[in-house]
């Protein structure tokens, strides 16, 4: 039996879905080692404690709440010091973070402070004796590794979507704690959170992604991509590097080897050739649809369903059909 720590990521005072995934993952690991407790760390501006309940519903036995007026913006140094201090004093078997932009920043700092190794971007995990054995996609997803992590605590970051948030309700004890370092003394100072165009659904969380490539011909034609995404209702918009290089879409929308790695239930590639660097970011999607006017385009090799045609003609018709199917 062993206790497991989970870091609950927030943004703008709200829990992110990956926070529930981290707590669910920690619950699974605690249960796999005979049913220890899950302790979640929640950091933010005063009022963030209200989010503790949702963590309890997903299996946290205790929530450590660190509230401070200066923590409205996420501070990497405060988060790392506070998490490391808590993990050190709590005697945990493992500490679970998210493989999100912030989790990937935070977990290695914490692991190094604790002097332990870590496994990143984990898609599956399992305790084996004193070790934890994990699966970790490497080589731009072209090789799947099985890694053995020894040492205590075992620090892991979970790939978004690898664990589905599951209910495991309990009335979590709420414990308040102070930040381990004074936010005013942090050397790295957060200045601003810039909200992107994709404020509704994030690429990592959206069950459906509609992505556009150079085949859309002009930035204004991305309206067609956005309209299809809106018709699905649960979709985010992605892009290729050709498009982000042109400045048609922000770099944060880029999917691929040097952009985001995504794995939605449905990926619609519109006017995308299917370069290897793009495929690296989306080839693990459950279902792939491709629309391209060139029937030899490599994207068709990975597509479950392909339509050979002009995106500018196909997209509006598809949008209407999806609306109808959704009963809108």
């Amino acid at each position: 039996m062993a206790n497991v720590f989970a870091f609950a990521e927030t943004r703008g005072g709200e829990l992110r879905k990956v926070a529930l995934e981290a707590v669910t993952g920690a619950r699974q690991l605690a249960d796999a080692t005979g049913g220890g407790e899950v302790h979640a760390l929640l950091i933010g501006a005063p009022g963030i404690a209200a989010k503790a309940q949702a963590l309890g519903e997903h299996g946290a036995d205790a929530v450590i709440v660190v509230e401070h007026p200066a923590l409205e913006l996420y501070s990497p140094e405060v988060a790392a010091a506070t998490a490391a201090e808590r993990i050190r004093s709590g005697g945990y078997r493992a500490a679970i973070f998210s493989a999100s932009a912030r989790g990937k920043d935070l977990a290695p700092r914490v692991a190094a402070k604790l002097g332990v190794s870590m496994a990143s971007d984990v898609t599956a995990f399992q305790p084996e004796g004193d070790a934890i054995v994990v699966r970790h996609p490497a080589y731009t997803g072209k090789v799947i590794t099985t890694l053995v992590l020894t040492g205590t605590p075992a620090v892991l970051t979970l790939r978004p979507g690898a664990v589905t948030p599951a209910a495991s309700p309990r009335a979590a004890r709420v414990e308040s704690a102070a930040p381990a370092i004074d936010p005013g003394a942090a050397r790295v100072v957060p200045k601003e959170l810039v909200q992107g165009s994709n404020t509704k659904l994030d690429l990592g969380e959206a069950p459906v992604i509609v992505s556009g490539g150079r085949g859309l011909k002009a930035p204004e034609n991305f309206r067609l991509v956005e309209e299809l995404a809106a018709a699905f209702g649960n979709a985010a918009v992605g892009a290729t590097r050709a498009v982000t290089d042109e400045g048609w879409r922000p770099h944060s929308d880029q999917i691929g080897q040097t952009g985001r790695l995504v794995s939605p239930d449905l990926y619609v590639a519109a006017g995308i050739s299917g370069a290897i660097q793009h495929l690296a970011g989306m080839r693990t999607s459950k279902t792939i649809v491709a629309i391209n006017k060139d029937k030899e385009a490599p994207i068709f090799k990975v597509a479950d369903y392909g339509i050979v045609g002009d995106v500018l003609e196909v997209l509006p018709v598809l949008t209407e059909a999806v609306k109808k199917a959704k009963g809108q």
């Binding site: 932009a101 700092r109 944060s252 597509a303 199917a325």
Partner: protein
Amino acid sequence: MKIAVCIKRVADMESRFKIATDGSSVDETGLKFDMGDFDGYAVEAALQLNEKEGKGEIVAISLGPDVVQETLRKAMSMGVDRGVQLKADRVPFDGLAIARALAAELQGGGYDLILFGRMAVDSANQSVGPMTAELLGLPCITAASKLEVANGRGTARRELEGAAEILEFPLPAVVTIDEGIARPRYPSLKGIMAAKKKPLEVKPAQLGEAHLTVKGMELPPERTGGRIIGEGPAAVPELVRLLQTEAKVL
């Protein structure tokens, strides 16, 4: 500024990979190698920072067997002043083991800035940069897509999922570099000639024990795509039917 850039030699990701007979590594026969994508951006960022100032020194550091000297020469042909190989028979998978060896070399080097790639595209750990920063006790920014430095302070932008953040920090500092900073330059012929004469120091890597080890590697199942269902808008009804009944995503 005195800038260090840590670069890793990695296989060309366009390759068709095969798992070696040991079952826990990639068969390197016939593969091409170069510095990692993000490490290339980091080298370019360092060059541009010092070109703007008109002075300074850039040192590239790579841990690995003698073949990494090629990667260091490539960095020098782009304009890096000198190279350091931290010699090891093989590069461990464990990011902390690598970070310890890099930190031992960087410690006391008097660097204003230490740059890394956001991640090594082979191991995809995304941990060596921030771990090295912690070991050195330096401020750290990861995955910077913009970086400005003036008067001993830096400002960086980081991309988040659907948002971005701006952070300020004092030098010396560690920064890991994302795409979007600057596209790496191609070495000029003159650069390639000059690189041959630049100093390249070889030292043993102080690798500790690894606590993250590879048990196995496998190739993911091939996607069985390739089904074209029709042409133009006329194919839309069939697509919608398949999405509803077969893929069940609509």
